[in-house]
Symmetry: C2
């Protein structure tokens, strides 16, 4: 475990929260980090119970590095900290949505978001015109 992780009062994740989680075989849940107010998706990380506990109790996003096998507090090295505003658990318990205030770029490349750099070629989907419900623009009228 990274010794930079701040000490918190509680010894671990509350049992009532731990009971809600559906972890992957590595014991992790996905964590989607979103900038509060703008709604920008900044990055996706992974959390074990300890990382989630730190995130919930320290006000700083904390993740589990699958490659390094250790906890890391976002911004501890880069200074690009994530201040936690709200944490939500999804319906099946395998993903959390962490609303934050991000200092500086979230991505290690220097981009604001980890999703800024690579757009994949995709067919844009539109409902068939004859299905268009009342009040919804017909496919042919949609601007993109």
């Amino acid at each position: 475990m990274n010794t930079d992780v701040p000490t918190v009062a509680q010894p671990g994740l509350a049992p009532e929260i731990a009971a809600l989680l559906k972890r992957d075989p590595a014991g992790l849940v996905a964590a989607v980090v979103q900038q509060e107010a703008t709604g920008e998706v900044l990055m996706v990380g992974w959390m074990d119970d300890t990382a989630l506990h730190h995130t919930l109790t320290t006000g700083r996003s904390t993740f589990y590095s699958r490659s390094r096998g250790e906890l890391w507090v976002k911004g501890e090295t880069s200074g690009h900290r994530q201040w936690v505003r709200e944490v939500r658990l999804d319906c099946d318990g395998d993903t959390v949505l962490v609303l934050v205030d991000q200092e500086g770029p979230a991505c290690h490349t220097g981009d604001r978001s980890c999703f800024d750099a690579r757009v994949l070629p995709a067919t844009v989907g539109l409902p068939p015109v004859d299905e268009t419900p009342p009040g919804r623009p017909a496919a042919a009228q949609v601007s993109r």
Copy 2:
């Protein structure tokens, strides 16, 4: 494989895209689905190469069900389809961000988003007042 998956012209994911992916041990990448324009995070699913290929070429979000071990096209049963607007790959290739136009609720519970129902108790994080950079409200003045 679910036989409801629409037939597409190409036999599989383009090799140049496949080469960018960093799949988990099950061969999957995470897929964060976000409502275009509003920025609302609707759900997180999982995609293998075939699901990503279908998402990129059919205009409909398509996922791999880890529990059922098959592909599923979002809305095929419920009618709550996701029309693809843009697909972005993150910096390390293990997550895609799928911008969509969601028909109706995205969650199987009937909620608009899979993150609507459960807010976890979290300490709100704020930078120390003496660190507050110029032009940024001091912690004590932040409204929440």
